[in-house]
């Protein structure tokens, strides 16, 4: 399995897209932190990169990469290798590339410019969000054999989590403002990894006042250590469940 991961990492490296992504992330984060006069402004810009750009690149590249690996997977399947191992190696390879890309590109400047506690939080959120969207890529590429459709599902998933979900929450908030739906809103937030991540960072930033009505409730529930652990667990589930689902299908799939 180590060999397989090595082959995949080598292949991704040769592909150069992840390298360019790292360089772009680095260029962007260094310029954000050196141009903005207050670091909090820079932090908010970085937050947007972590919550919008990182997921998009992770899910799109991974989906296309998984489809392009069909031949590689087929070749390996006639060899004495467990199916499970092939799929897990592919996942590990993509995970490592995106985590390393994030740390090298955005992680290091964040550690240098941001107060240490918040820097760690932003780094772990960036790593987790990358992983979640790599995992979602496995989900969308296993549900259909059609490459165009698979990539389409990935784009839709990103659109939904990055843009639409917020709109739905706001809509509900306004429509049902007169009812006690605070708990429901918190539950709803757990169903979107990007929202979970955003709230975790905003709480650290102590701008929860900016989050308005629900901010206070989120502070109540997420602010405590228990809340932190809870939301991290949700995020880990977001990494595990889509991948395990795809693994289950892959194990039974005809090739």
């Amino acid at each position: 399995m180590k060999q397989l991961v090595k082959f995949i990492l080598h292949d991704i490296l040769k592909n150069k897209i992840v390298i360019s992504y790292t360089i772009l992330l680095a260029l962007f984060s260094w310029s954000v932190f050196s141009l903005e006069d207050t670091s909090s402004k820079g932090i908010l810009t970085m937050l947007n990169i972590i919550l919008l750009t990182v997921p998009l690149v992770s899910i799109l590249f991974s989906t296309i990469y998984i489809y392009n690996c069909t031949e590689f997977v087929e070749l390996l399947l006639s060899q004495p290798i467990q199916r499970k191992k092939i799929w897990i190696s592919l996942f590990t390879g993509l995970l490592i590339s995106f985590i390393v890309a994030f740390i090298l590109g955005a992680g290091i400047p964040i550690l240098l410019f941001v107060p240490i506690e918040l820097a760690f939080m932003m780094n772990s959120i960036g790593i987790i969000i990358s992983s979640v969207f790599v995992s979602l890529a496995f989900f969308s590429s296993i549900v259909t054999r059609d490459k165009a459709r698979g990539i389409g599902i990935s784009v839709l998933l990103w659109l939904y989590f990055a843009l639409l979900f917020d709109g739905i929450v706001l809509f509900l908030l306004f429509q049902f403002a007169e009812y006690p739906i605070e708990k429901l809103m918190v539950g709803l937030t757990a169903s979107s990894p990007i929202d979970l991540a955003r709230i975790l960072i905003l709480l650290q930033l102590d701008v929860s006042a900016m989050m308005g009505y629900t901010g206070a409730i989120f502070k109540d529930i997420f602010g405590t250590t228990k809340g932190l652990i809870c939301s991290f667990t949700f995020l880990l589930l977001w990494i595990l469940i889509p991948f395990l689902f795809s693994l289950r299908i892959f194990k039974r799939r005809d090739l």
Partner: protein, 240 residues
Amino acid sequence: MIDLIDVNKHFGKLQALIGINARFIEGECIALIGPNGCGKTTLIKSILGMVIPDSGDVLINGKSIENQFEYRKQIGYMPQLGRYPQNMTIGQVISMIQTIRTDVKMCDTELLEKFSLTEMYDKKMHTLSGGTTQKVSATLAFLFNPKILILDEPTAGLDPLAADILKDKIIQEKKNGKLILITSHLLDELDELITQVIYMQDGEIVFHKNVSDLNSETGTTRVSRAISQILKTRIHETIS
């Protein structure tokens, strides 16, 4: 060596394999023949675990292959259309498979040299012609001295010279007592190789016979004639 017990498989509405029962023993060279889409490749792929049967079981050396993978150490597989990572070179593909197969120390590189693939080691897979890709597939199938060889249309796309090299290799491996499973439409080519014939149609085995029995039943000396004669009589029977 290989036992197929009541194997069924369907793809959507299409019933690809219907109650397949067969037994293949070492030292035999079995030809799997039948019209396009009759389930030959599906049958081969279910032995390899690439297609998972709906019901029934495949046993290799008496052990079910369900959720197993170690048994594939004994199988060399040459696919009908070898698909390889496009941006890897021939050399990279071969050395990759070699690093994965740490269980085999001695590799059989005869075909690699005879097909003069070593001279093309730096060529990328996507630049290769269909025939050269087939040569790579053949080389990989024989590389690890497997006890069972499964060859899906081995000579399709090969030039006559390369086809001869491959045929000699198959004959040689047969003499070494290996089990060889081969599918082909070119019946004439198979004459000197095979000891048994399986004829499939619409996902079912129509007959599974020894070549000697087949020839004496039909009074011919060539497998190709014998089979066409059987088919003609079968058509007659269904009409009348």
